[in-house]
Symmetry: C2
Subunit: 435 residues, 2 copies
């Protein structure tokens, strides 16, 4: 394989939402080196991640596929027959990736990922469409975000399209069996991850790493009776901070949230609504983005509001981004969809907003709907928020599937994922060739 | 083993520095449950960590001990012959721990520790004294802090003295060979760690965990020619924040710091001096505590200053704590040591202090010394700080081993660790029985 020359750092600092070609080059240049100074001072180029070098070793002991709705399916413990692995080292760069039977990793106890959280991941889904086709949903965005995350956590860079090719190969291998055509609407959860595998305890950039991808059975999480119940975080708890890493899908954002999450669950809530600062700024709901639909205080206009990404304390979610884009296109004041369906147009707002504003809107009867958006939860209506001991009940519609805007977004997205989309966004569903 | 009844949560919120019996009970009660509601609603107690159940399987392929000063010794990649492992599950509690040959861990790719940073660790050393004895330094403090860390990261609790017994057993097994008596002053680095081993991708408290302890060869890091060079963190970087987890020894504090650390190293610095907030409050130097010796602006009194622990963004270091205690005892205005050695007494101050204050003291000729303190670096004189492009040179003594106060603290501690202490603090060295 021809080593790729790396462009020197550009004089820009792209945000995670700027997943442009320039942003990727910048991230590649900032991530763990894919070039290496040799002893004579010359730069020796090392191998890039290259999906065309994939080796394949199929399993000889295939697993059985759990029944739909079974406890096994819901356990999140069942993976498919195969996984992708690719090893990286500072000296040699990326080795040829492999598609191999799913099974345990052998890691030295000193591995960097076990002590210093040199780890990041992505969450995606593979859908069996109503038209019988397998689809990914905007997978390019996940692969680009994975590069942003590896860059933030000092793990090696790669060309996102190479990761995508590896994911597609794994989906094409295990999809036909694990998402049979008689299960339209079913999905598998795709987990790409990268970990630092250096076996030296010095606190430093990993000099060895492992990329791996697996497919897991996952039950739907978006149909919670009564809607999602959120407990607003207490003033002494904080998920992310400006200058930190809240925008990246790194392990370090998750483990430290589990104590608060566990306490919330013991009290009957599903997740924490993470607030930031004395102003109680809204950031995320659990590990999902959070949206409200309300009428603006000033003039009663209908608005969909979610946290902006400016301070980099909120994840640039693919579901979040898609929701915003669909709403802007389909429910703006000039949208044909809005006019055809008789829906009141909405203004889409990304800004800093606070729990105090939500409470005020609720008190004044202006809070219309709320929902969490993410790959795992999909679009999940929020029915209840507890904040400083006060309880807000929020409408989730007569059927419990969400108010009309929440339900509409969910239907649009589901249709795209399952091959029934029409119009804008339909190209977001990427068909996986099973032949 | 008799299951131990767990006291219900006490109405206190101990800080990590309050490692009292009450604090331990509280942490145990808050950590992942060691009791478990059964289906009939009764509380079933599960097994506690119990060092008396240790099983032993010695290696049949012993490794060779690297030479002092060899590259192998400095690589931080050589572990001793054995390790401790103990498994925990929510249902059964702690299994019997084992002392077994050092070797790789087999982890499912879905393990919680690889995705959600459910991991924490400790850093300690085992010293070969000049009197021929093996010693640990205040190991009780590390074991208690480990419990604080497991509690913060949603991993299971344990009685700290049981962990200490396991560490002592491992040291007694491998210490005689790996720290031979003809190497007085040599040490091994001890790394206890705990990881979440749940193989399910749901973001939740781990229901399975693994405790392990290993011993690693490590070169001294406290004799850096010219002293440690620190690069003050930029305004857009933040290591820890109030409501976060900066006080705990969890992996999530380390990985996210590696990019900044790597950039600092490329510029010729050893570590980042982590500042917090617009005021540039001093927190930590790399992964060590940071001290300055200066003359107070008001009256010229000599002071040793380090960050307080109030906001829980700074690690309650064992070396930090010991330094403070020794200085308070030995160099107060009434101290016999100070009088005998003709040293000017110092006032010991734990408070919020800023880089701007350090810069002012430096400008006004009041900055006397600075040093980093931690287990890995021990007491390392700081000779240079770069802050917003401005360079501060700090005296590290004629021999480069630190100014007189830095050098004095280092000598006191080393003497305790190597069995040559006198007076207060001598009991901090805990002898490991090799018989």
């Amino acid at each position: 394989m021809a080593p790729i020359a790396i462009t020197p750092p550009l004089n820009i600092e792209p945000t995670v939402s700027e997943l442009t070609a320039q942003g990727i080059q910048h991230a590649l240049s900032k991530s763990a080196p894919s070039h290496q100074k040799s002893h004579n001072g010359l730069v020796a180029k090392v191998a890039q991640l290259d999906a065309s070098l994939l080796t394949t070793a199929l399993t000889t002991s295939p697993r059985s596929v759990p029944d739909m709705g079974s406890a096994e399916m819901a356990s999140q413990k069942v993976c498919t027959d195969h996984m992708i692995q690719a090893q990286w080292s500072e000296e040699r760069g990326w080795e040829a990736p492999s598609l191999q039977p799913y099974g345990p990793l052998s890691l030295m106890p000193t591995s960097s990922c076990l002590h210093y959280a040199t780890q990041c991941f992505e969450g995606m889904k593979l859908y069996r469409g109503h038209d019988g086709k397998l689809r990914l949903f905007r997978p390019q965005l996940n692969c680009k975000r994975m590069l942003m995350s590896t860059t933030r956590i000092a793990l090696p860079g790669f060309q996102p399209e190479e990761l995508l090719k590896l994911i597609v190969k794994l989906c094409a291998t295990d999809g036909p069996k694990w998402l049979p055509k008689d299960r339209p609407g079913a999905f598998l959860y795709i987990r790409p991850a990268m970990i630092g595998t250096d076996f030296a305890l010095g606190v430093q950039r990993p000099r060895e790493a492992l990329l791996f991808v697996m497919l897991t059975c996952f039950a739907p999480m978006d149909d919670i009776p009564g809607g999602v119940k959120l407990l607003a975080s207490q003033d002494d708890m904080c998920r992310a901070w400006p200058g930190g890493f809240g925008y990246a899908k790194v392990g370090a954002n998750y483990g430290p949230s589990l104590v608060a999450q566990g306490e919330a669950r013991e009290k009957g809530f599903h997740q924490i609504l993470w607030l930031f600062g004395d102003d109680c700024v809204i950031t995320e709901a659990g590990a999902s983005n959070f949206f409200v639909v309300w009428r603006a205080k000033e003039d009663g206009r209908l608005q969909v509001v979610t946290a902006d990404l400016n301070e980099k304390i909120v994840l640039d979610g693919v579901t979040r981004r898609s929701t915003l884009e669909l709403l802007r296109t389909r429910l703006s004041s000039t949208s044909a969809t809005a006019i055809r369906d008789g829906l009141e147009p909405v203004e889409v707002v990304e800004r800093k907003f606070t729990m105090l504003e939500i409470e005020e809107a609720h008190r004044e009867g202006r809070l219309v709907e709320a929902f969490a958006a993410g790959t795992a939860w999909f679009i999940a209506p929020v029915g209840h928020i507890q904040f400083r001991g006060r309880d807000l009940q929020i409408d989730i519609g007569a059927d419990g599937l969400g108010g009309q805007y929440t339900a509409r977004v969910k239907t649009w997205l589901k249709n795209i994922m399952l091959g029934e989309g029409d119009g804008i966004g339909n190209e977001w569903g990427v068909v996986v060739d099973e032949s």
